[in-house]
Symmetry: C2
Subunit: 202 residues, 2 copies
């Protein structure tokens, strides 16, 4: 059986990654979304196993020591990471897996699993990103400027990705992401067995 | 301006390539279909500049000598080839171009333009291909067996392609081909300038 494909998607905050991804997951029932683990506490409205797996710092560090984290990072004093076992199990079952993680974690995944396909969502421009973050109205100006500066750092790392798509229009972005997922499964490296089978029964 | 992308599509006779391609061309107005040149005579219902450019053997050979053919081949005593100039002009204008040619010509294109993206359409199986060719009812059994043997040779060359898709259901195949075209434009190599522009205005 053909193994599943591992996709990693990253985007600065405010690029619409969540919306694009939830639409694509709705349309692709065979795509498994990997839920991250974190040591931070659940926020209002968040659900264990949906938004994150909430674990203690002790548990998280034990997982790191046991090689159980595919990637991890620290942010604002908390750990965030991808539990490895579930990802590997799904891939072995022939199911495609998608991780939604930041760029440093994405580089770790690519190093561990070179066949992973990295997809970056760009904002149309940095001023537009600032406009979108301001529009949300949930964050103070200094927090927004911090997000912008982080976004610029993330965009700089996008040169290491396999695909880059700009989220200008949501409908186009959904189609773009689906096209990347579909095309990645049609590459020659993925289909040599299929050619062999067609020839065998000739 | 970003240059257009060159796509080459090949498939054994009876794989439904023509139908898939005409649907995809209908949906993608920015995709230019390159019409081949041939030295054979027009058949009933064929139109100059639509099915082929019909030229004399002398003209064809002159084009070869002048380096004016991107690829060419001989089949049943006639020449078939892709006039280079129009393809190059369209690519320079930022327009994507698609060639529908057989596998030996495709290898020539890849050699001349390594950035060309080669797509092969597989039949679900060789017995199914035979069934489809028989169903057409236009060819005698020995001609069909010749087509099958050519198909097997072509399928063997598909290992050199970038993408392989199986035409089992037409609707799926149309989506597959469109996904390949879309995703090919979203690769990092195609979009480094875009990242640069987003960062420049940060």
């Amino acid at each position: 059986m053909t193994k599943g494909k591992l996709f990693v998607i990253s985007a600065p905050s405010g690029c619409g990654k969540g919306t694009i991804l939830s639409e694509v997951l709705k349309n692709n029932k065979n795509l498994f979304f990997s839920v991250s683990a974190t040591t931070r506490s659940p926020r209002d409205g968040e659900t264990e196993g949906v938004n994150y797996y909430y674990i203690t710092e002790e548990e998280f560090k034990r997982e790191i020591d046991n090689g159980g984290m595919l990637e991890y990072t620290q942010y604002c004093g908390h750990y965030y990471g991808t539990p490895k076992k579930k990802v590997i199990d799904k891939l072995e079952q022939g199911i495609d897996v998608i991780l939604e993680i930041e760029t440093i974690g994405a580089m770790q995944v690519k190093k561990a699993m070179n066949e992973a396909i990295l997809i970056f969502i760009l904002p149309p421009s940095v001023p537009e990103l600032r406009r979108r973050l301001n529009k949300r109205g949930t964050e103070k100006p200094d927090v927004i400027e911090k997000r912008i500066s982080e976004a610029v750092d993330e965009i700089k790392r996008s040169y290491n990705y396999d695909y880059v798509m700009m989220n200008d229009e949501l409908e186009v972005s959904i189609k773009d992401l689906e096209a990347i997922l579909t095309a990645s499964k049609l590459t020659i490296d993925n289909n040599k067995n299929m050619i062999g089978e067609v020839l065998e029964n000739a």
